[in-house]
Amino acid sequence: MNIVKKFVILITFLFSSQLVLANSDVLVDTNWLEKNINNPKVSIIEVSVVPGVYEKGHIEGAVNFKWHTDLVDTVSRDIISKDRLQDLLQKSGVNQGNTIVLYGDKNNWFAAWAAWVFDIYGIENVKLLDGGRKKWEADKKPLTPIATSVKSGNIKLTKTNNKLRARLKDVVAVANKKSDVALVDIRSADEYNGKIFAPAGVPELAVRAGHIPGAVNVSWGKAVNEDGTIKSVDELKKIYAAAGIDGSKPIITYCRIGERSSHTWFVLNKVLGYDTRNYDGSWTEYGNSVGNPIQNNTGTVWGKI
């Protein structure tokens, strides 16, 4: 009896965890997406960091959003306006009630960022392809260079929820211990400790190095497996709990320009269900702001020869 019971539990566990991983509320796997390529209720959008990746080969039926121009205000530093996003989504054939699957290169960095932007405008049923392009290619799934032509969709954006967006004043309040929010700096340890001002090969856009006082350092990459897929809920809980992030209080994530932190935002907010905001001003805003406290463990001085 005991053995049978154990076996049943094991099977149930395997089956349920498989189900969660395969097609959760927020993640879809490559097999699911492959089966749903022609599903009219599914819209696929690629948001890649590197320009030209989409054109050489993308998932059939996917449209291309360019993060440099499509999802931002190109003049002032801000995300795309509601009207422009609605226009873009309609032109891309997205209908009201469709499931939107986002994916991209570099572990879905900008796909997650797009998911965050979509969340602010109250778009529902937004999911990430778990593992992004990397996993799709590793699974030897087909790509096509043929551009997708679509009929206009009818999606309407009605809400704007700026509460999902952390602003400079919110993080300054945390730095000055006037607000009980957990800050997660998802950059590399070298950036966090102030050893470097920006990752290798990336322009130094902040004139100070270090991190916001009180922030803990959990690099975004800790949340993913070798193949780029997001780790299991149990593993994730353990990783963040080790840094004191357990969802008991609100969380703000940040990085350099707010894109890698969207990945962690997605993990904390969507996968774990913690109350999390993304600070898109990130270090390029905070590290340049005047008069705010900074923790620099290394003591590097900008411009010093």
Partner: protein, 385 residues
């Protein structure tokens, strides 16, 4: 006994064996690189073989026309452009369903048209006349054993560094406001194909009008016979199309520019930042690692392909240059390096890949490079330079 005369002897294959050996070494290295790096190498090999066999040297072809009224070579270039135009437009239609302004197909060499492009094209044409061949031909002729090429490359690298020093001034004064003109924006894809083929047809008729019948060459063993330039043209059009679809448009200056930039940085003579440079579409761009790039492997393949082909066809001969040849190669190289940097590409990157992409910049390069070449030819002959 008669049979052996139809088959090239064992030593004719040495070059090919060497190229394959390098391919094996490269394959060990490219495991860690981009998955198209290996393809780059083999495409470079093919390009080198085609250039060498069909003598696809822009200067030699033009000189044949000017001196011997032989248009066959120029018609080969027209063939390459016609085949490439068709191939590129087929790919354009896949990448961008409709050519709506301001969208451009990714990576295609569609660059701004300005007085700087004209200056660069003139300088390039002038330089190739002095040095005796353009950059791609210097590469394939290096494979044939032309030692003076090395001096041309030294000149090219210094020409690049000189252009880097002036770049920010040129860019901020002129290039930033220069129009980027892509024919499909104005005529649609069909219109653009018709327009380009019409111009190419007119050019072909003009070249044919001037053409005089040439003496026939003596019959040689089949492996020594040069391929007609139009055969080279068809193959180059196809290689151009494959390169655009799978890697980046054909070009031979990206890696040279990269090398020069690193050397300039090392010597502390080039600006740290080249304004707007990495946002423009041309042959050159920011690359971080040296040599083990797609373009580096393409060039390596080109030289080895030509070497293999030259040895096979018994064209290989180490040619030790005279002093004036060293000087001409170096000075010509300076002009070519300077010209191709500010024009964002050479006869391959700007002319071939630009015109195939239906960019006005390609045609401007074609015209003014031709002008510069004629000027260089005149000076070279008049002053016996």
């Amino acid at each position: 006994m008669k049979l052996t005369s139809n088959i090239p002897s064992f030593k004719n294959y040495y070059g090919a064996a060497f190229a394959v050996l390098v391919a094996i070494l490269v394959s060990a290295k490219v495991q860690k690189l981009d998955n198209v790096s290996y393809l780059s190498y083999w495409l470079g090999i093919s390009f080198g073989i085609v250039l060498q066999r069909s003598r696809f040297c822009f200067y030699c072809i033009s000189r044949d026309f000017i001196e011997k009224k032989n248009s066959i070579g120029l018609l080969g270039i027209i063939t390459a452009l016609a085949v490439g135009t068709l191939g590129y437009h087929i790919i354009f239609g896949a990448f961008l369903i409709e050519p709506l302004f301001p969208q451009l197909p990714p990576n295609a060499h569609i660059s701004p048209v300005s007085i700087i492009l004209i200056l660069g094209s003139l300088s390039f044409g002038f330089g190739m006349a002095l040095a005796g061949s353009c950059i791609s031909a210097q590469l394939y002729r290096l494979g044939e054993g032309l030692i003076s090429s090395i001096f041309a490359f030294i000149g090219i690298i210094f020409g690049f560094i000189l252009a880097f020093k002036l770049w920010n001034y040129f860019y901020l004064k002129i290039i930033i406001d220069a129009p980027v003109i892509w024919f499909p924006h104005y005529f649609g894809y069909t219109g653009s194909v018709i327009f380009q083929l019409f111009i190419l047809l007119c050019l072909a008729l003009i070249f044919l009008k001037f053409h005089k019948k040439q003496k026939r060459e003596a019959v040689k063993s089949w492996w020594k016979v040069k391929w007609p330039t139009y055969v080279g043209g068809i193959l180059i059009g196809l290689i151009g199309m494959i390169a655009f679809l799978r890697i980046t448009p054909l070009g031979v200056t990206a890696e040279l520019g990269n090398l020069s930039r690193n050397l300039g940085d090392y010597l502390n003579v080039t600006p740290i930042r080249l304004e707007g440079f990495d946002t423009l579409r041309g042959c050159l761009g920011l690359v971080k690692n040296i040599f083990w790039t797609n373009n580096g492997l393409f060039i390596l393949g080109l030289v080895l392909g030509s070497l293999a082909s030259a040895i096979f066809s018994e064209d290989f001969k180490v040619q030790i240059p005279k002093v004036n040849e060293v000087r001409n190669s170096f000075v010509g190289g300076l002009f070519m390096g300077f010209g191709s940097m500010i024009a964002l590409g050479c006869t391959v990157g700007s002319l071939l890949s630009g015109i195939m992409a239906a960019s006005l910049s390609g045609w401007v390069f074609f015209v003014f490079c031709g002008g510069g070449l004629y000027l260089g030819w005149l000076i070279r002959n008049k002053y016996n330079f």
